[in-house]
């Protein structure tokens, strides 16, 4: 266990200077890619999401944390067009997304994964991957009948898919039905498939849940790599080590509201956050509590 986990004590180089002015919930960002204003969503009497103002910084890795039922997944659904808010407006890369269907949001480059994995069970792993590719003319009905119109692109797509599969250690499984993958492997497949779309903003809902520590490490590096390639990442995660390690910015939700945000180190010290989420074990190492990762001695 301890040998497989080697998240370095020092966090990876963080992007800083993302915000303007004093840090508080809803603070303006220098270069926001997503802007949310007054978005609320109620289920019957329960207010699942009620966000006054929130900006997601471009070109950075932002973590969205909060207790179970805080509204993180619901916010994801609202942002990606899978659910409609009762009030409010939100925009992606300067374009308002109100009323835009989910598939168009994805075409614009805002691509998400699901907390409850949606592997396409009776497609092979490779077919799952190819499905993510953009600009395949053969997906149009009339073009599809003439294979010479799409074969070349298909070869390109396959090469790209295999490269990603290798990175996610799924290349040996390429011809298996996705149904035969384990839970963690499906999570990986879904993430890899989302990356096939060359997204501008990747939204990952608990990407590391059920993924083993050794692979977590390499995936974290992969997520960092996405940032280097110029992508923006927004992820929901309960694993505080992952959050500390790669998040440039952390947003904390509780009961539908944004209760705090800021750089990881500072947010974790915020009393409101400790209250709402981290609880009294904040001083103890969370990794030790969850038993997932043991940190090298001396790091708190």
């Amino acid at each position: 266990m301890s040998s497989s986990a080697k998240i370095p004590g020092k966090p990876a180089s963080k992007t800083t200077g993302l915000h303007i002015g004093e840090i508080r919930p809803g603070v303006s960002k220098v270069d926001p890619i997503v802007t949310i204003d007054g978005v609320s969503r109620r289920f019957g009497g329960l207010t699942a999401v009620d966000v006054e103002h929130l900006e997601i910084p471009r070109g950075a890795i932002t973590a969205l944390i909060g207790p179970n039922g805080a509204g993180k997944t619901t916010l994801f659904n609202l942002l990606t067009g899978f659910d409609k808010p009762d009030t409010g407006s939100w925009s992606f890369a300067g374009k308002s997304l109100a009323g835009i269907p989910a598939f168009k949001v994805a075409q614009m480059g805002q691509v998400r994964t699901f907390q409850l994995t949606k592997a396409l069970s009776l497609l092979t792993v490779l077919e799952n991957m190819k499905l993510g590719a953009k600009d395949q003319r053969g997906e149009k009905l009339l073009y599809s009948l003439f294979s010479f119109l799409w074969k070349v692109k298909e070869v390109e797509i396959e090469a790209k898919a295999m490269e990603l599969l290798k990175r996610f250690k799924l290349d040996a499984k390429k011809d298996d039905f996705a149904a035969s993958l384990s839970g963690g492997q499906r999570k990986l497949l879904e993430m890899a498939r989302a990356l096939m779309t060359d997204p501008v903003l990747v939204m990952l809902d608990e990407p590391m849940a059920g993924v083993n520590p050794a692979l977590t490490q390499s995936l974290l590096e992969h997520v960092l790599g996405l940032k280097e390639q110029g992508m923006t990442v927004l992820f929901v995660e309960h694993d505080m080590h992952m959050v500390r390690h790669i998040a440039d910015w952390v947003i904390v939700m509780a009961e539908g509201r944004v209760v705090a945000e800021g750089p990881a180190e500072e947010v974790m010290k915020n009393p409101a956050v400790i209250d709402a989420y981290l609880g009294s074990h904040q001083d103890t190492d969370l990794g030790t509590i969850t038993g997932r990762i043991t940190l090298p001695k001396g790091k708190k």
């Binding site: 990606t80 899978f82 269907p101 989910a102 598939f103 168009k104 994805a106 075409q107 691509v111 998400r112 994964t113 699901f114 949606k118 592997a119 396409l120 069970s121 009776l122 497609l123 077919e127 799952n128 190819k130 499905l131 993510g132 953009k134 395949q136 053969g138 997906e139 149009k140 009905l141 073009y143 599809s144 009948l145 294979s147 799409w150 298909e154 039905f177 149904a179 879904e190 498939r193 989302a194 096939m196 779309t197």
Partner: protein
């Protein structure tokens, strides 16, 4: 017992317009259900549209036979749009309810005396053959051998039916091997995942509904070509017979529906010949020969149940690719 006659009749159904009509309709269902996951229980309605569309445009509007076929196909596209626009955004089961109801509404519209001048009401339609038979390229003669002996008109129907079937099989093969087919199969698995990858799921489902509908409608045309149209044919049980053929052969395959349709008709004609014979020769006691010939429908029902329970993927299907239990 006259085994020769029984075998002769059974052999004929191997290659008959009804078999090919079923194969086309089952092919349409394969597109709908097997590949796209659309639960269409109104395939009889599509077949009725094909048959009536053809006959009415020939009889009432004086169209040529091939124009009549085109009218049928266009009518099926319109029917798909009417069915699909309100229901394809909903979850799958709703489509099942709407299609079964729509097919019944359609059948009753064709049956009612209100439009009797056009549809023939309960009498159905006949006498729409002139244009089609005039276009027959085969000279008057007997063709084939043994049970497969046809006159030139029968041959013309068969050749046309076979051409339609081969064309549809070919198109479906190409479609399902293409990236378009990949998206369609993915939608069957999980719509939201496909949406999240930027595909217009609604448009794809509509395209699948339209294509399958065209196959079904073409099946209806072939069904009507040899003789006449009887509104009593396009009932819900026709839908379930086509479903039986589809599930028998394999829903998520291209050749399965064709094989299923052939087996279905071979079995049907064998049983409908052999059961009354068994009664007359005293092997089956307690029932009349009329009752005996309806027993085959009970057997079809039992067969369908056994099939779905023990071999849901059908004869040609891959166990993993389509089962009812997910």
């Amino acid at each position: 017992m006259d085994w020769l006659a029984i075998l002769n009749n059974t052999a004929q159904s191997l290659l008959s317009p009804a078999t090919m009509a079923f194969a086309l309709a089952a092919l349409g269902l394969a597109m709908h259900f097997g590949f796209a996951g659309l639960l269409n229980f109104g395939i009889a309605g599509y077949m009725a549209i094909g048959a009536y569309g053809y006959a009415i445009s020939v009889l009432v509007f004086g169209f040529e036979w091939w124009q009549g076929i085109l009218v049928s196909l266009v009518a099926s596209v319109i029917f798909s749009l009417i069915l699909g626009i309100p229901t394809l955004r909903l979850r799958g089961d709703y489509l099942a309810i709407v299609t079964i109801a729509a097919a019944e509404i359609l059948r009753l519209l064709f049956l009612t005396t209100a439009f009797g001048d056009i549809t023939g009401g309960a009498d159905g339609l006949s006498g729409y053959h002139n244009s089609f038979r005039a276009a027959n390229p085969f000279p008057e003669a007997d063709y084939g051998f043994g049970p497969w002996t046809y006159n030139s008109v029968e041959l013309w129907v068969l050749v046309l039916g076979l051409l339609a079937l081969v064309a549809c099989v070919f198109v479906l093969l190409l479609l399902m091997k293409s990236p378009w087919g990949r998206v369609i199969k993915a939608i069957r698995e999980d719509e939201d995942a496909v949406r999240a990858l930027g595909k217009n799921v609604f448009a794809y489902k509509m395209q699948a509904l339209i294509i399958g509908g065209i196959f079904g409608s073409l099946g209806g045309v072939i069904y009507a070509l040899p003789s006449s149209i009887n509104p009593g044919v396009y009932v819900t049980s026709l839908t379930f017979f086509v479903w039986t053929a589809l599930l028998l052969g394999g829903a998520a395959t291209v050749f399965g529906p064709v094989l299923g349709a052939v087996l279905f008709w071979v079995l049907q004609s064998f049983l409908s010949n052999v059961l009354p014979e068994l009664v007359t020769s005293g092997v089956l006691p307690f029932i009349s020969s009329i009752q005996a010939s309806t027993i085959r429908f009970i057997l079809v029902g039992v067969g369908l149940m056994l099939l779905v329970i023990y071999r849901p993927q059908g004869i040609l299907g891959d166990k993993k690719e389509l089962t009812f239990v997910k």
